[in-house]
Subunit: 226 residues, 2 copies
């Protein structure tokens, strides 16, 4: 059966789960912490990163796909129902730019010092708190939210009038940091409205139900009318 | 005119130049050092990373595309001549996995401590030499060459019997480190043969002619029969 090696609070893994759900594709979820030396992860992806999708495509054979953007491109090609990439080359280029933006820039400037420190480090048993890094992450978060606001000033979704993979990527990354209360929604009303539209989608429900042991979510986290 | 904001010894920029040349597409090359606070780079790409392609696609309008893999996907869609992605979804997924491999893993483990230190740091005027990091980079380089050898054991090119974007990505990354003599070719004859096939292509010639001031290339660097 279609299987996703993932972690519940890994933003790229969440993006892929949203893509699967939006396309109505079921997948068995297998937790695969990249900080453990797991031979099944290494066999599926020599880079030992998550997520990895194991699938039997409609055209036959078996396939192991990674990283997240390659999985999304693969699912878009193999299962074109509910497309998440625009019809034009320019639109697709803009979606890819923004997915990379979150996978690379937001990951390095925000996740690495906020959610990865608070959640992944706790799960890996090496929790530590660096106040200077945390404050730098919070400042970077505001800068990114400001950029997302700017994008939303003239568009209903990040890349135009339709929801795309760029929205799912952004929402996946924000959701994990929202779990640790690190998203100052009140200061960015446009981003809050946009996030609420995604949060209400059935695809998002399973994500909002997940919890980290010993780390309770803020009350607004799973509230659809926060 | 089609313009590429790039640096001559930036591996992702080199990959895009190879794609343009393989497709027979001319482009004006504009050097745009990401370590300088260049407003034209920020305007073309808010992430301030290179390469950025400015193009007027056949369908009309103007477009600024980044990062490198998104540029390659865009060129493949807009100019399908001389395709560099395989026809199957599985093949395309494998190409994307390997391009990410070099853009992320090889970049972090090898470029960051070898070519970026020796070339970019020199150009940015902040040259420093960290022997421990250099040795770790050389060890990582061997590990990566071993992986490429393994891929080439059963295939003529990295993803099968045809040259793809994965080969151009790998060759671009290796070429920059070859300029500083950091590729132990003699230990990896399969990789050497494969690299020679790419090095001989007309698309590669302009890259081999470039020099860094004050840093001579080893004699084998531009030698097609090294």
């Amino acid at each position: 059966m279609r299987t996703l090696l993932h972690m519940p609070f890994d933003p790229p893994s969440r993006m892929v789960r949203l893509v699967l759900a939006e396309k109505g594709l079921a997948a068995r979820l297998v937790e695969s912490p990249p900080w453990k030396d797991d031979p099944s992860l290494a066999a599926a992806n020599p880079a030992r990163s998550i997520p990895v999708l194991l699938d039997a495509p409609p055209t036959g054979g078996e396939i192991a796909v990674s990283p997240a953007l390659a999985i999304a491109e693969y699912l878009e090609e193999a299962y074109p129902v509910s497309p998440l990439l625009p019809a034009t080359s320019a639109g697709r280029a803009e979606v890819r730019r923004l997915v990379w933006w979150f996978e690379m820039k937001f990951e390095r400037e925000v996740n690495a010092v906020l959610s990865r420190q608070r959640i992944d480090a706790r799960l890996a048993g090496r929790l530590q708190y660096d106040r200077a890094a945390w404050l730098a992450g919070c400042e970077a978060m505001r800068w990114h939210l400001d950029y997302v606001s700017w994008l939303l000033e003239n568009r209903a979704w990040l890349v135009g009038e339709k929801m795309t993979l760029a929205d799912l990527a952004a929402a996946a990354h924000l959701s994990v940091n929202d779990y640790i209360g690190a998203v100052p929604w009140a200061e960015f009303p446009l981003v809050k409205d946009w996030y609420q539209s995604i949060k209400c989608r059935p695809a998002f429900r399973p994500l909002l139900a997940e919890r980290v042991e010993g780390l309770p979510a803020p009350s607004h986290y799973a509230d659809l009318d926060f």
